[in-house]
């Protein structure tokens, strides 16, 4: 029940425009800690835009404009004294298409810690080993840590990206359709990984695969045309949705 949960991230009156088009309309959403929250909705409903607002990645796009607030640890991340770099350390992101850097596996994972000033070899080694193990990838690659990351399979690359995100020790991990480019077995591995991850992190996942949201998440939010339509515990939303629009979407009658 959302009332009993500790809320780690919360949007209040969030509005986002790209040029003249409004992509997110007045969204208030509370994200519970140490849970997996899924965001579902048809193409163009704004779910990825909302996710990217949580670590201010929309600012990379020049024509974006955001009003409203997102509170993290009591502070509005959109206030002028927020350090975006620090924010992105705490709120990590995994993208839809696995994007390993064309460096070695080791260098990929060490990239984050290094830009934040960690130079000590031993420390970096420990971080690499720890995160690769947490990402359930160690067994597959422990003997080729220094070979190119581009030689890994799609599923391995995505787990590498998850390990890379974990290497900067975030509190929250945002995942933007992390499995949509992967085969079913890799998808299953990553879903298992997500469920493991929620013990130590908070996971927010955007997915167009409703069944994945149903399988994996504790809470599900349904977005339509930039608005939040319904948000509740996953089992409630999928068994007895309160809004007809939600039901039309999840039963596939909305086409």
């Amino acid at each position: 029940m959302l009332e009993n949960e500790e809320i780690i991230l919360q949007s209040a009156g969030l509005n986002i425009w790209f040029g003249s088009k409004q992509a997110i309309i007045n969204v208030d959403l509370k994200i519970p800690k140490h849970k997996i929250t899924a965001i579902i909705g048809p193409s163009g409903c704004g779910k990825s835009t909302f996710l990217r607002a949580l670590n201010r990645m929309n600012e990379v796009i020049p024509i974006s404009r955001t009003t409203g607030s997102v509170f993290y640890n009591g502070q509005d991340i959109y206030s002028s004294d927020t350090d975006v770099v620090e924010l992105r350390k705490k709120v990590g992101m995994v993208f839809q298409k696995p994007n390993p850097f064309p460096k070695s596996i080791y260098e990929n994972i060490a990239y984050g810690p290094k830009i934040h000033g960690i130079k000590n070899k031993a420390e970096l080694n420990a971080i690499v080993e720890e995160t690769v193990k947490s990402a359930a990838l160690w067994d597959e690659i422990e003997d080729r840590l220094h070979s190119s990351a581009m030689g890994l399979s799609g599923g391995q690359q995505q787990r590498l990206c998850i390990a890379r995100a974990m290497a900067v020790k975030p509190e929250i991990i945002l995942m933007d359709e992390p499995c949509s480019a992967l085969d079913p077995i890799s998808t299953a591995k990553i879903e298992d990984l997500m469920i493991e991850l929620k013990q130590d992190y908070t996971v927010i996942i955007v997915t167009h695969n409703m069944m994945q949201a149903a399988r994996v998440s504790d809470y599900t939010a349904y977005f339509l045309l930039g608005e939040l339509i319904e948000y509740s515990e996953t089992k409630d939303l999928f068994e007895y949705p309160k809004d007809k629009r939600t039901e039309d979407y999840i039963t596939g009658r909305f086409g």
Binding site: E239, Y240, P241, T251, G252
Partner: protein, 217 residues
């Protein structure tokens, strides 16, 4: 229309369940008539209907499973499919009872009835009405019809109590009637159970249409 095939299959499921309901309604009525008229041919038809109902129930269950496996139903679709399967099973149990009544007819048709049947046909009439209510509730997606189930079942329960006492008296006063009285006791018991199951079906219909759990009796 989106998910055309899915919708067609679900309509087919519903049609089959209605067929099942109609078959059940006819089987119960026919079984009581066969007893009242001591007509072995009618009883034999009831037994045929029971076989048909088994087959139909399996078809319905198979279709429900197939839809669940291949279409990933959620929300109202999931409630619909699972409820349809349970309702079909429940009707099938009713038809089993009807068959038992028919067998009693066949067993005792050669001798005169212990007493002319009055209450038993009245129970059967109410059951007919209740099953009709279930059918209309499903077809018209109208839960209010299920409100009428309870009073009808109350009558059935009262008749059962009455007949039970009456038959017990028969047996106490004249031990030669024990055999026949026991048969009638079973019949009336079956009809009482059929009434209960029909109410349970009403609850399942409410759950299917509204997601709420109610107890009709």
């Amino acid at each position: 229309m989106v998910r055309k095939v899915f919708q067609m299959e679900m309509d087919r499921l519903e049609t089959d369940v209605i067929k099942m309901a109609q078959l059940t309604r006819d089987a119960v009525s026919l079984s009581v008539d066969s007893l009242r008229n001591q007509d072995i041919e009618m009883a034999a038809r009831v037994i045929e209907l029971e076989e048909k109902s088994d087959v139909l129930n399996i078809e319905i269950t198979d279709r429900g499973m197939m839809l669940t496996a291949t279409q990933q139903p959620v929300a109202r679709d999931l409630r619909f499919i699972s409820s349809m399967m349970k309702i079909s099973d429940s009707f099938e149990r009713i038809v089993d009872y009807a068959e038992k009544i028919a067998r009693i007819t066949m067993k005792s048709a050669h001798k005169p009835l212990l007493k002319p049947l009055v209450d038993i046909p009245r129970m059967s009439e109410n059951i007919w009405k209740m099953i009709e209510l279930d059918i209309f509730a499903i077809q018209n997606r109208d839960v209010r019809l299920t409100d009428q189930l309870e009073p009808l079942d109350d009558v059935i329960d009262a008749l059962y109590q009455q007949l039970y006492t009456e038959l017990l008296n028969f047996m106490i006063n004249d031990t030669t009637t024990i055999d026949d009285a026991t048969d009638l006791l079973f019949v009336t018991r079956y009809l009482e159970r059929i009434g209960d199951i029909t109410c349970k079906i009403g609850s399942m219909i409410v759950f299917m249409l509204e997601g709420k759990r109610v107890w009709i009796k």
